[in-house]
Symmetry: C2
Subunit: 591 residues, 2 copies
């Protein structure tokens, strides 16, 4: 059975050595000293390793069951959920006013990686609740907040997001679910929603569904969509639970993975709902939290890559097979461990350099969200909005790819469910799809974000990379990290300029290259992170750190990323510069 | 439910327009005129589409079951197997002397793609039998051939290959299974084998296991391994079935995919076995058929990519979502079909250009095997041996990747088992692992095949590409195909020279780049195939073909591969030239 060891040490390194969070002027960050964050990460890591990780294969093999309309989570989930609640983990970064711990989002993201790595399907129950609660926090009336938030922050009640319908996923303007206004100011919601994660289960007294629907007579298409709170059990004026609402789970889906999370078809049959935010502004309300939600999905990509890497690494050290061609390494054994073989190492280094680079990228992104929310930093908001599709799309694509590579280390055993490596790949696969499929992320990046505010944010990104390169151009030993980053960043700029020049004439010239651009951007971001880590580790070594091996290892891994991964930017650029013609030339009928 | 349409037209194009097989002087090829191959492909395509494809999801969801030592295949498999036998499909390319059809291997490969695409798990039962029968054909005594081959060619008896043990997969020298010689010339085989595909099932009267084991007192390691025939039911002298042999299935594995094929733990408890080939030369005997077996697995990669592409394409044409940014394409509908969107097309073109390029590559490889076997062409044998790890490793890696991309077209529905796209990805995943994991293929390519016979075969490959480029350099309209191929081939040569120069000093300099080299090689092969197809289609158009759209589509797809896929060779080369240092620098303990 796979195991999980929380990479808290690496998180501490990123938070303090690389991002230096405690010195930031973001409100709440001054409390985040090394000891404090270490205590939180260790505690979260313990529950992840000891409680959530052992339940992960149980969730996969037993899955959720539905009987007579009741959905049962896998054995052990309820107890674990209770433990998470007692620890206050679901509300770690929610306001104290509603029972949360009030910590910054960056800490929620860090512990979220622990939980998600250990058990993605389980962690989604609280993740969805977090998203729904955040939306109510941003758009709810004082009454709505008072009614729902204390319960949701504590996870006594969980939450869901209801967007997709059978005939519409990305294109929500086609939505058919209707909300009829009632005399008392409430609405009757009728329609069917699909792919509702955590839509029904047995771990909470109530489930608060946030449902997109159209109020009859409103504008056509996406502009006529409103957002509603539709509780599974109606809430009385005194806050106690009342009658069951007319919402029910039609079935739970059989999926490729995340079997421990109930993915439900939800039927709304004139269910009582309450408008959340303004009428016809539902998309805006739902998407207020989009940067956070998408960053959270990017985190899932990293998290599955991390746990898959840990287990592949242990297997590579343990499994004896073949001999080192340069000389026997384990003369007393019948063979050398797998890790002596260059191609096994190539595979492991790809996983390692991804996981650590992605972690830095993600936590940096989380600090930008904190800067935007906690001190109204518009530049940070713009920058993280720009990078959100990259975080989501690149980290989930690569995260899945890394789980597949980790599985490969096990040979035939990787394909046998008993060893657990298949589950990591199957679970990681969903993150490329939900919360906006990765092709939609690429479209968002190239079609919207690049040109947003006159291209201000992408210019800010380039300035940031340029500034780092300039500041470190003369720093001894940094040349080998700065030069590849510069080249990669130049590829990204060339691609952006190509889009500007050609996209004016033909939008398809940009859109046909959008997916490559998202990956190109992702490599530049990870390249930047590795250059920053190299800088931080060189500084630590120069200052006489008491853990030189850790920092030397960072430098080796940075070198690997620069020489073995970053060259990918050239191919992405070449593909982009091939333009729309090869992609668009065929008539649909002739495919 | 997914469907399958046999791509017989594309196969006909490759066989006749590109490879011009009927004009070849390989014995047996002169019969392969257009009408004859069309009749075979259509018939095979029909059974694949109508019988095997509908059983594919059944195999996945019901799987194999074991009760009291008996393994039951999924409902419908037995009947379908009987139909395949009646049609003579399992023995299509086996000698007529033993009941086969005597057709060349290239035809077995072509129909094999149909069957494997429609139902990989099912087709493996006959595929394993084919491999075992071929081994007996190559190494068996006259008696052994007479006893086993007629039954195996007819698939009345099926076959297996028993290599792996719990503690050894790639490194078979560690093998513990023992074969004790008996007075009557037979052996008692004792040991445990794992991951035995089709090891036990209910579709044949007998199962002929080919088992690697060590005869006590023989050489240590891999040189002391011999190959044995161990039938499930002993065969009497008159050919009738006798007593049950001491071999049994211990359990069937729960796997990520290919649930319709029983992957068995096989226990040999003093089972009666018969030496096949020479003592201690078991590896050689087992690996005689390796080129074929590995080409067959590469074919599985293509086959799953093909069926996944077909279904993704149909979905992309059918599913209405969003609008074409350059102007509405489906004004009467609520939205345009997915296929209008550039990134969906980018994805589909990647799948299409892979499947068609891979098909040409594979069938070309099959003709080389025929040339080697049917007319003793040593150059063809050397060339296909060189390319075998590329066919296996590159086509299965890419094949899996394409199934994942096809799944992505479906958005959330791709993750739901009901739609069938998950199965294609889960089934395709195994082909990267079995018959030598792809890292082992890369090692075989760089560590053995490159330098084989003084590098003669790789030089022959380069000459072949060079010759094609030279012959077509002046051909009107071929420049856009020849130039990228030349560049890519130059990257491959540069990489090979780097290995030669650096690998002398440090073998790890070559081995650390082996995986990238395998992919670089694969791209050059597909680039060559696309250039050849472009040439063939230009010729057809010039000659006034009655199907201009087909050939124009080929040219568009060739252009896509050249401009959007082939640039990948530059990145592979850059990674290779980064050398061993970034890969090998870390101590194992510091990962």
């Amino acid at each position: 059975m796979p195991s999980y060891t929380a990479p808290s040490k690496d998180m501490q390194y990123v938070l303090h050595d690389v991002l230096n969070i405690a010195a930031s002027d973001i409100p709440g960050y001054s409390d985040l000293d090394r000891d404090f964050t270490a205590a939180i990460l260790d505690e979260a890591g313990k529950i992840a390793a000891e409680v959530l990780s052992p339940l992960n294969p149980v969730g996969d093999t037993v899955g959720c069951k539905m009987e007579n309309g009741v959905v049962y989570t896998p054995p052990g989930f309820k107890d674990a959920f209770a433990q998470m609640k007692v620890g206050g983990w679901p509300g770690i970064d929610m306001p104290e006013e509603f029972g949360g711990q009030g910590l910054p989002y960056v800490m929620g993201t860090a512990v979220g990686e622990h939980f998600s790595a250990a058990n993605q399907a389980f962690t989604m129950y609280q993740g969805l609740t977090h998203g729904a609660a955040s939306t109510i926090l941003a758009h709810g009336t004082a009454d709505q907040k008072a009614t729902y938030l204390p319960k949701m922050v504590a996870c006594d009640w969980t939450g869901t997001m209801n967007l997709t319908e059978p005939h519409c996923g990305t294109d929500l303007g086609l939505m058919r679910t209707r909300a009829e206004p009632q005399a008392d100011g409430s609405y009757k919601v009728t329609g069917q929603k699909i792919f509702i994660s955590a839509g029904e289960h047995d771990m909470a007294e109530n489930i608060v569904h946030l449902v997109l629907a159209k109020i009859p007579g409103g504008p056509d298409g996406i502009k006529g969509v409103s957002l509603f709170i539709v509780p599974k059990v109606l809430v009385n004026d005194d806050g106690s639970l009342g009658a069951r609402n007319a919402v029910s789970c039609g079935k739970i889906e059989e999926k490729m993975g995340i079997h421990g999370n109930a993915t439900c078809v939800m039927n709304y049959d004139g269910a009582t709902g309450y408008l959340l935010g303004e009428a016809h502004k539902g998309m805006r309300a739902m998407f207020t939290m989009m940067n956070e939600a998408r960053l959270g999905v990017g985190m899932q990509g990293l998290a599955q890559a991390e746990i898959a890497f840990q287990n592949a690494l242990a297997y590579a050290k343990d499994r004896l097979q073949g001999r080192d061609v340069t000389g026997v390494k384990n003369p007393d054994g019948p063979a050398d461990p797998l890790i002596v073989h260059p191609d096994i190492r190539r595979n492991l280094m790809e996983q390692k350099s991804f996981a650590e680079g992605a972690r830095a990228f993600l936590l940096w992104g989380a600090t930008l969200i904190d800067a935007a929310h906690r001190k109204g930093d518009g530049a940070a908001d713009g920058l993280v909005s720009l990078m959100t599709p990259v975080i989501k799309g690149f980290l989930t694509d690569k995260g899945f790819e890394m789980t597949v590579q980790a599985q490969q280390i096990y040979g035939g055993h990787g394909y046998i469910e008993e060893w657990g490596m298949s589950q990591f790949a199957r679970d990681a696969r969903i993150a490329m799809i939900y919360e906006g499929a990765n092709g939609v992320q690429a479209l968002d990046l190239v079609g919207r974000k690049l040109a947003q505010d006159g291209g201000k944010h992408v210019m800010a990104f380039f300035d940031l990379v340029k500034g780092f390169c300039k500041d470190n151009a003369e720093t001894e030993g940094m040349g080998e990290f700065v030069e590849p980053l510069k080249r990669a960043s130049k590829d990204l700029q060339t691609a952006a300029m190509y889009f500007m020049a050609e996209g004016m004439k033909n939008p398809n010239a940009a859109l046909a290259g959008s997916y490559d651009f998202m990956h190109l951007f992702g490599h530049v971001c990870l390249g930047l992170m590795w250059a920053k880590m190299a800088r931080a580790s060189q500084a630590a070594l120069a200052a006489g750190t008491d853990d030189p091996v850790f920092h030397q290892t960072k430098l080796v891994t940075a070198r690997f990323y620069m020489t073995r991964q970053l060259p990918m930017t050239a191919t992405h650029l070449a593909r982009i510069q091939a333009g729309a013609e090869p992609v668009m030339a065929l008539e649909a009928a002739n495919f």
